[in-house]
Symmetry: C2
Subunit: 337 residues, 2 copies
């Protein structure tokens, strides 16, 4: 196995650390409502996310009408339209808007990213993989539709993702060279450069003592890579320059890793009901996690570093447009499920 | 289930039927060597296919170096580089050349189509699907690498297909709008508009009496659609006009169905050793096939009709360029395994 150096943020900018730490990773405090309800500047990430999610949900619904063969389409819709925070699509649209693009141009990309995400959840949950029965508070796809239909629904969602991205960009007047670059970036994030590679190493690491380097490899591929692709493709589709695109890549890698660190902490601090999926599973299966390797407080401190690093990456952009991504990073850090 | 009218070729042009019929679908005759060795015009489809396959094999090998995580890449390479006739890639390149494009421009597309094909074989062979142990004379991917790795190798090959198509077209100077259109066409052929839909209906039809219409639906989606996409994308990448692109679509649909009718006949007339895969399986599993619904002679006659129709579709093209596709259709009709 190739050695991967732990991904650390250096140097660490000054930060009112206690305030941030109070809210990290499932800890409820008295300032919880203030921070979740809106920032000091009146921007509400919840309203922003709900608005973008509504756009995405509507387009996802239109993209996949219930038609012959019905069981396949039902299975695909079951997972794709199951709700969720739509973090990846929101990130794609926000990155596009950050570089001056508009929501309509980014919507097909946002939907494509969510289709990839839905596919990865379906396949990861299968009995031959993580063998999970519960997802977002409902039976997983293979429990509801059978293993073979679930597997094929995943395949079809992955294919639909690229079809939707290509057709949608053409219909919305996104220049073909940008759309094509987004196709390559998104595809790379799925296969040997991302999700699949992460899942393979993750499965090989179960029940084995893994290093922090391996843990970082798993999450940089399994979780962060798709968030990275969402942001990078958003910047590409929106017409960002190379510096902006790579800035978005660094921001999203930090946010992606943050997402996973928080996920690992929530897995040991929250219940299945609170999460809408099986809690405590990492511990039960002996899986390597950040709390296991760093302790819960160590993992929380690492999350704080990652948040600071992500916010620092936004400094190169037009400050009148960075609010959504600044608040999105905090939202991911402070989420309770 | 939606009713699908059987796909018939009307009207039937005159044909020296006996000569063709003598060679159809596994029947060996005295003129076998002449027909397989080369046509009356000195063109050798075997040499043409071997040359294109060599180009494709070399690019496939380069596209997927053995790297970390090794087991994933080994599993992907095992299926992708397992040989085979490379009918789909050859069709893609031939269609591109037919409309005036060159081999280099079509090679990334040809490889992308083969990656999709390899993925579909891996997933179709899985225990929860067709549960097959033998493919091209070797253990199937999941027998060699385990079910979870095989599933992930299929996912990664599908993703790599779109990445390779997008990057390869850009590198070879294919205009981005053509490449993007090819992405959409190929993606549609994989999911609910093609392979997956065909596999879902195929599985639902096992052990059930199915109509000729349903059988046609299965094969138009499961087999013909990818051949269709290969030819259509070849014409798109090569810069063909809309009439040429749609002409290629009709040609390839006929050839694709022909491919499957011949496959069904060979399954009952050849041994596992001759085919390099489990023979007689359709009969053993009670699967609907053309010989079962039409009788072997009826299926052979249908194949003859399809071949005539496919050759007729080539009449709209520059006659100095149609030889490869004319001979490819015959090659598919006359193949022995």
């Amino acid at each position: 196995m190739a050695k991967v150096a732990p991904f650390r943020v250096q140097p660490r900018p000054p930060l009112c650390r206690d305030r941030v730490m109070l809210k990290f990773c499932g800890r409820n405090t008295s300032i919880h409502a203030t921070m979740e309800g809106g920032g000091d500047d009146g921007f509400s990430i919840e309203r922003y996310m709900a608005s973008k999610a509504a756009t995405v949900n509507e387009e996802l619904n239109r993209s996949l009408p219930l038609q012959h063969p019905e069981c396949l389409h039902e299975s695909m819709r079951y997972s794709l339209l199951a709700g969720g925070k739509r973090v990846r699509p929101v990130l794609a649209i926000a990155a596009c808007e950050l570089v001056g693009g508009d929501e309509a141009a980014a919507a097909p990309l946002a939907c494509a990213v969510e289709m990839v995400h839905a596919m990865s959840l379906i396949h990861d949950d299968l009995p031959c993989m993580d063998d999970d029965d519960l997802r977002r508070g409902r039976p997983t796809n293979h429990v509801a539709f059978g293993v073979s239909t679930a597997l094929l629904a995943g395949d079809a969602l992955l294919a639909l993702s690229f079809e939707h991205l290509a057709r949608g960009c053409a219909e919305h007047g996104v220049p073909a060279d940008r759309a094509l670059r987004a196709v390559a970036e998104l595809a790379n994030a799925v296969g040997t450069g991302g999700l699949v590679a992460g899942q393979v190493v993750d499965m090989a690491s179960e029940g084995v003592d893994v290093s922090l380097g391996t843990l970082e490899y798993i999450h940089m591929h399994k979780t962060a890579r798709l968030l990275e692709a969402a942001a990078v493709c958003g910047a590409i589709v929106g017409g960002g320059g190379q510096g902006e695109i790579e800035g978005m890549r660094r921001y999203a890698r930090l946010v992606g890793l943050l997402f996973q660190v928080v996920d690992d902490v929530l897995d040991v601090t929250r219940t299945s009901e609170q999460l809408g999926k099986t809690a405590g599973k990492d511990l039960a299966t002996g899986k390597a996690t950040y709390p296991k390797l760093m302790g819960i407080d160590g993992a929380r401190a690492y999350a704080a570093d990652l948040l600071v690093g992500a916010e620092a990456e936004l400094q190169r952009f037009d400050p009148t447009r960075t609010e959504p991504l600044r608040h999105l990073a905090r939202f991911i850090a402070y989420r309770q499920h």
